[in-house]
Each structure stands twice: as structure tokens, then as C-alpha cells.
Amino acid sequence: MNTFMQNFPILAIMSLFLGAFITSLVARHSQKAGNFISALSVTLALGFILALFKPVMLDGQIITYWLGGWEPVAGWAIGICLEVDALSLFFGLIVTVAVFVSCLYSFTYMNHDDALPNYYTLFLMLSGSVLGLVLSGDLFNVFVMIEIMTFTAVALTAFRTSYEGALEGAFKYLAVGSLGSTGVLVGIALLYSQLHTLNLAQIAALMPVTQGSSVVLAIAFGFLFIGFGTKAFLFPFHPLAADAHAVAPASISLMISGVLTKCGVYGIIRLTYILFQNANRPVVSYLVTGFGAVSMFVCVTMAFNQHNFKRLLAFHSISQVGYVITVVGLSSALGLGAGLYHAMNHTIFKGLLFLTAGAVQHQTGSLDLDRLGGLSKRMPKTTALFLIGAASISGLPPFNGFASKWMIYQATFNAGLLHHNLFYLAVCVCALLTSVLTLASFIKVTQSVFFGQLPKEYEQVEEVPLAMRLPMWILAVLCVVTGLFPSLVQTYLLTPAVSAIANIPAYVDAAMGAGYAADRSVPGGVIASLPVTNTWTPTAWLALLFSVTCAVAIVAILGSPKDRQHEYISQMGEEESAKYDSFFSGEQAVYSQVGGSDLFWGFKHNWRKYFAVMHNWHSGIVNDYTLYGVAAIAFVLLVCVTTL
């Protein structure tokens, strides 16, 4: 193995942490220098991770790095190790790209705020901890990184302390999120008490073949699952995400939804497929898929009630993560591929949407769906970017959301078919339905923020500067590219990552030395490799869609008159221009604005009882949220103890 390459994971992590340190020193004297350092460290991290792409993704190597050179002695891992297999690198790529974009966006977006040195220090620490988490090969390191992550995320959530609710959101995040951290810590302790090691590879190797032999391990699984689930904001923990997202700066919302939740997803995948590969498979599947499906559905309906742009996006964020968790739980290669694909796409399109929300907030100072309107006149480019993001998240072809949702439907349907299981079919219906409801929400945002009538107070709003549009364009282009070439994504990203999950002995041997897995008869893996046949090939009919659209566009548009409305108004005077007025049937324009919360009455009316119950449950009281969290812990533990 290339020893030079081996240093890249630690260099990537350290460049972020060192960047945080140096920024905090430098930025007090010159903000420009601070910005430069942060940009540099983020770019370096991205570069190091990209450099690992070829050996890990293409050549299938697993790169290990033992901190301080403490390699395993006599079959026991005594040092701390970084182990980068394709799964880790997949998430590492997501993380670094999102961090890069978010950092780029922050430079302009945050320029009105004070205490910027703190912002960049915390931001880089957050990035470093997340990267450390996904690249780590040591369970306790994972815990430490989770804690740093939660910490910095909480601090950044509360960064705009004067913003209404910022402190409140941060406190809830910290208090209820601490249940998750406790879960991870207790899980680690229990695991250690049984296996006497913290190295992920060694745990995977030593895990007893029959899970039923140890109740303690079952409890450990439950605690770890709920711990990572909290970090992914799964069902009973979703109010935290909503609160935190809504009040955090948009660049941080991107980090929370695009990066932090992915850590939870990564943790759940590692936990269920590699550490506890011998656990009772159907139960684990039901548990993971069930939690995912419930989050998926509950959060999408919660989004209907929202009046705040970013809070609405936050609920959708959890809903999409619910999709990911749902399919990840299916224990099939297709499901894992779909989950990873959707995880990646979610980071891209949800990042884009949060950034557009940030752009709207930056220019208008408001996120209220009932007060905004008609911004497409003033911010046409942001509108175009938003529409790309909205189409992606709603899964409209040809954007990336469609490609991954397509795989999700296939995976859930196949699971129902192959296991002859009605539950998975119900999940499939639920997934299809959630997609429509997602679409409805985004139609609502489109109507109430970007189209409709422009309120008087926003008539002077201007387009965001290029420095903020550039990061959005990066994400928008990624949305289209990953949607148009799913086979490339499958070949170069998904297949290696899924194969890495499928090949546990390789993971064990890479850390513990060749032959270690064979000596302890580690099973080959829960799932087979990803079949190549299940790709969606959009290019053929995409070309068609394109040509059809072009053909019709020529007919319909070329013949249409030029935009003469303004000429008319100037030439003909006011009477003539009246025909360009919208029809209000006698009402005054100010009274006839259709606000965001007026939409979808027919749907909300029929579900009013459900919505009332949900509204009461999301009471905003920390104690209630803690209660839901503890109830979830109790439920998961009960399931684990009785069935694993």
C-alpha cells in the first residue's frame, strides 16, 4: 500500500482542525486573513479526500492510519485508527463538498454579522469533527467527534443570538440531543464490557455469531441505534431539527441537514451492517425501516403546517433522511445503493434549497411564507435555482431526486415481493405518497415566496451577489449531473460503497492484519453486491423530452409577440394598459394575495384532526421532547432485548 496515501485521512481532518485554530488567532486582527485560512483549509480537506478517490473507490483499497504508529499487538488493537473504506469515503466526499460550498457561501452571506472569527472557528471545528467521525475506525473516537459536532452545531445554531428563537432552538437541540450522546456512550461502554475493544474492525470480528447469546450486546445495539438515530433526527427527535434549522444561519442549516444527519445515517449503516452483522436481520430491518418510514411520513405532513420557509425545509430534510433510513434498513444491496444515492442527493438539493432560503432572507430579511411573495420579479436567478432544487426534492425527472427515488421504490417493492411481506409494500406506498406531499409543499413555497404578487415593501429587493449565487450554482449543476448520469454514480460511487459494506472480512483484515478475519471466521457480509442491472437510464428518453420540448417551444414561443407591455403602457396611456392587469374580480390587490397557509385547504380540512394532534405534540416544550426521546429509547431497548 502506498504509505504516502495513508496520511491523507489524518491530513484532511487536521487541516480543518488546524484551520479552526489558526483562524481563531488570525481573524481577530484581519477578517480577510481569517477567511483566507478557512477557505484554504476547507479546500485542502476537499483535495485530500478527492485524492483518496482513486485508490479507495476505483482500486478498492482500504486505507488505515494508526495514530502515533500504535499498530495492533497480538491481535488486539491498542491504538486509535482511521480506517477509510469506500463507505467512509463516500460520506467523506459528501461532507467535504458540502463544507466547501457552505464555506464559500458564508463569506458573503455572513458579512453583516459580527463575531465572525468565532463563526469560522466553530464552522471549521464542526467540519473537522464530522469528517473525523466518518473516517474514524475507533468507536470512542466516533463518540468524541459526535460530541464536538453537537457542541459546535449548537453554538452555531445560536450564533445569531438576537434572532428570535435562536437560543431556544439551540437549547432544545443541546438538551434533547444529549439523549443521543448518552445513548452512544452507554452503548460503547456496554459493547466494551463484552468485547474489550473499541476498534470497529475488531468489534466486527469478535461479534459472537449468535446474537442471542448476550442481552448486554442487544442493549448496546439499542443504545447505539437510538444514539445515531438522534444524530439523524429520526422520528421522535425531529422537532429538534426543525427548531435548529429554522433559526440557524442558512449556511449552518446546510451543514445540519446535509452533513450532520448524514453522520447519523453513516452510523446506522456501520452499526447494523458491519458491527452487528449477526443481529437478527428481520428485526433490525423492521426497526430501521419502521423508524425511517414514520419519520418520512410524519415530517412531510408537518411541513404542511409551517409558515416559516426554513422550518418547512427542515421538516422536509428529516422526511428525506427518513427515505434514506427506510431503504437502508431493507438489508438488500439495492436498498443500500438507493439509500446512499438518496443521501448524497439529499445533501445536494437540500443544501441548494437552504441556500436559496438564505438568499431570500439575506435580501428581504424575512422568511415568513405569508408575507413574502412575487420575488421572482426581483430575484429571477434565485428563483431558477430554487425551482431546480424543488424539482429535485420532489423527484421530478430528470433531476437527481427522481433517480434515487426510483431506486427507493424498486428496493422497497422488491423487498415486499421477495420476502412476501406486506409491511414493505406499505412502506413503498408510503414512499410514493410522501413524494407527492413533498411536491405539494414545494408548490406552496413556489407560490407564496417566488410567484404571486410582490408586496410593496419588497419592491426594491435586489438579486443576491454572484459570490452567493456561485455556491448555489455548484449545487444546482450537481443536481442535474447526478440525475442525468445515474449509471456513472452507480459505477463509481454506489457500487464500491455497497461492496465495502458487503465485504466485512476485508474491512477487518485491513485494520487487524491479513488473516485475522479468516481465523475468527467472520461472515462474508449480510448482503450481496449491488446488481448492475438495476440502473435507470434516463438519457434515451431525456433526449426525447428535450427534443419534444424544443419542437413545441419553436412553434409556441417564436410566434408569440415580444414583450411589448411596457411599450404599450408608455405609448397608449393607462386605459390601454389595463388589459395587462391581473383579474381580481373587484377586490383590491392588497386583499387578494393568496398566502402560503391558505393553500391546500381541501387536504388540510380532511386531515384537521390529525393536524391538530400533531400541532399539540410539537408543543415546543423541552420536557415533552425529552419524553418522546426517552419513550423511543425505551421502545427500542424493549424490542432489542426481546427479539435480538
Binding site: S376, V436, F451, W541, L544, S547, V552, A556, S582, L599
Partner: protein
């Protein structure tokens, strides 16, 4: 070169643009005549909708002051393009579609969604409050029929699923559905799928936006809703989209439940297909149009999520248990 020509033929003539427009115009004209006859009127000529379309094309396109010009003009066109693309996936003749993949049904589902979304975004961009109400209702209608539609889709796929050479299931493939029907008879003859077929018959008028379910375009309440501000060519394209959608939905029903039949002569097959479409138009669109008054928005939702969804669900459960 040949392939390109073939594709162009598929795209522009059959089963694409020209055939779609022809069928759409004929079916919508037939619908109007049938409704008129049921109401003891004479009704317009068969091609009346085509004349209307041509007239609209000749009118001035007025872009309202509040409208966002690009979106306002392009949304109808993109929607129409998506609709034509759907027709290329339907194996209406001998089970051969111009394009087929392993999941046509999902693609069709989403393309149908795309057609509606284009309408909604266009309406939204026109800046009219009536359009706002209209798109809200259209979305609710869409949520309403989506559940039964999805259930129908799953039960049909579950019934006809085949395994590919590698043992992985081939699902949602229209070609497979056609092949299954060619081997086992049309799906409507399988009693476990009759509820699903009924549900699908109910889905058609709502998807098209025909009279008892046309909550989104209710002229008397919200001034044509989504089309309130549209005029001239974009309006013409919308009208055409509406007509072609009638045909596409009928054809989809044909492929899902009446496929697999072939006399060996293409011309006869086409005639049968046209007749079946006409019959479906009568059953699903003209008859309810003449008989029912328009539903309220919340009634549409209730109806589809209880009765129609229950029908489809019965089929799904029956098929699931191998019946």
C-alpha cells in the same frame, strides 16, 4: 441514421405527437358530442376543439403585469412535451413501445406529475389570485388520486412481475405487463384485479380534470382557476394538453388492463384500440360529466382516499395473497 429516422417517426407521428393530437382531438370532440346528446342537445362538430385550438393560436398573447414572463410562457410547453413523452412509453400496438425500460410505470407516474406541475407553476407565475386558488385545488386533486393510482400501479406490478435472468425482479415494466397479458389474458379478466380496474376508471377523470372532478378549473367559482390569466398561444397549448391527456389516460388503462390482445393485423389493432379509447372516454368522462354535478374540493379528497383507494387496496391485498 435509420435509428434516428425511426425515433423521429416515433416522436412526431406514431405513437407521438401527431397521433396523440389526433386522438386527443377526436376523443374530446366525441366527449362533447356524447355529453350534448345525453343532455338532449345537438352538440358541436367533432372537430370543434381543434377549431378552438386554432383560434386561440391566432389570438394575441397577453402577458399580465404581475406575471413572470419566461415561466408563464414555457410552463405549458414543457408540460405538453412531458405528455407526449409519456405516449412514447405506452406499448399500444403489439406490446412494442417506442421506448421501454425496467420501470416505465414510475416514469409515467412522474411524467404525469410533471404535466400537472407545469400547469401549476405556470399558473403560479401568472400572478393571479384565482390561479393561486386553482393550483391549490389542483394539488389537492392530485394528492387525492395519487394514492389509488399508486395502489393500482403496485397491484398490477405485483401480479405481472417477472424475474430477469439474474433473478432480480423486473417490476413496473409495461412491456412485462403486456407480455403477461399476452400469455394469461387481459388483466381485467383476472377477478382479483377488477377492483383495481374500477379504481383506475375513477382515477382517469380526476387526472384529466374532467367535469365532476374539475375543482381546479371551476369556471363558476374561481374563473377557470389556473387558466384565469392565460390567453393566446399558451392557452391553446393548455387546451391541447388537456385533450391529449384524455387520450394518454385512456391508453394507459388500455395497456394496463386490456393489453396483450393482438389480431396480427396492425390496422385492425389500431381500430380496436381507438374504439376502446372511445368507450373509455364515454364511461369515465362523458357519463360522469352528464350525470354528476361538480364535487367540492374536500369531497374529491374524501372520495378518492376512502372508496377508490379501498377498491385499489382490495386488489393489492388479493394479488398479494396470490389470487
Amino acid at each position: 441514421m435509420n435509428i434516428l429516422l425511426y425515433n423521429l417517426f416515433y416522436l412526431l407521428v406514431f405513437p407521438g405527437l401527431l397521433f396523440c393530437i389526433l386522438m386527443g382531438v377526436l376523443l374530446s370532440g366525441l366527449d362533447r358530442i356524447l355529453v350534448a346528446r345525453m343532455q338532449r342537445r345537438v352538440g358541436p362538430p367533432l372537430l370543434q376543439n381543434w377549431y378552438d385550438f386554432l383560434k386561440c393560436m391566432g389570438k394575441e398573447t397577453i402577458i399580465p403585469r404581475h406575471a413572470r414572463r419566461t415561466v408563464y410562457l414555457f410552463a405549458p410547453v414543457v408540460g405538453f412535451g412531458a405528455l407526449i413523452t409519456i405516449s412514447l412509453f405506452l406499448p399500444v400496438l403489439n406490446g412494442k413501445a417506442a421506448f421501454s425500460g425496467n420501470s416505465d410505470l414510475v416514469v409515467i407516474l412522474y411524467l404525469l406529475t410533471l404535466v400537472s406541475v407545469c400547469g401549476m407553476v405556470g399558473a403560479s407565475a401568472s400572478g393571479s389570485p384565482f390561479a393561486g386558488v386553482g393550483l391549490s385545488r389542483e394539488m389537492v386533486a392530485m394528492i387525492s388520486y395519487e394514492l389509488p393510482f399508486v395502489l393500482v400501479m403496485l397491484s398490477v406490478s405485483l401480479k405481472t412481475v417477472a424475474l430477469n435472468p439474474m433473478g432480480a425482479p423486473l417490476t413496473f415494466s409495461l412491456t412485462e405487463i403486456w407480455n403477461y397479458q399476452a400469455a394469461h389474458g387481459p388483466l381485467i379478466c383476472h377477478w382479483s384485479l377488477i377492483p383495481a380496474a374500477l379504481a383506475m376508471l375513477f382515477v382517469i377523470p380526476c387526472e384529466v380534470g374532467m367535469h365532476p372532478f374539475d375543482v381546479a378549473e371551476a369556471e363558476t367559482e374561481i374563473c377557470e382557476g389556473m387558466l384565469a390569466e392565460y390567453s393566446g398561444k399558451p392557452l391553446a397549448v393548455y387546451k391541447l394538453t388537456h385533450m391529449v391527456k384524455m387520450y394518454v389516460m385512456c391508453a394507459l388503462f388500455y395497456v394496463l388492463f386490456l393489453g396483450g390482445l393482438s389480431t396480427g393485423m396492425a390496422a385492425v389493432d389500431v381500430v380496436i384500440f381507438v374504439l376502446v379509447c372511445a368507450l373509455l372516454t364515454f364511461l369515465t368522462m362523458s357519463l360522469p360529466h352528464a350525470v354528476c354535478a361538480r364535487f367540492k374540493v374536500e369531497q374529491v379528497f374524501q372520495f378518492y382516499w376512502t372508496w377508490v383507494a379501498a377498491l385499489a387496496l382490495v386488489s393489492l391485498v388479493l394479488v398479494f395473497f396470490g389470487l
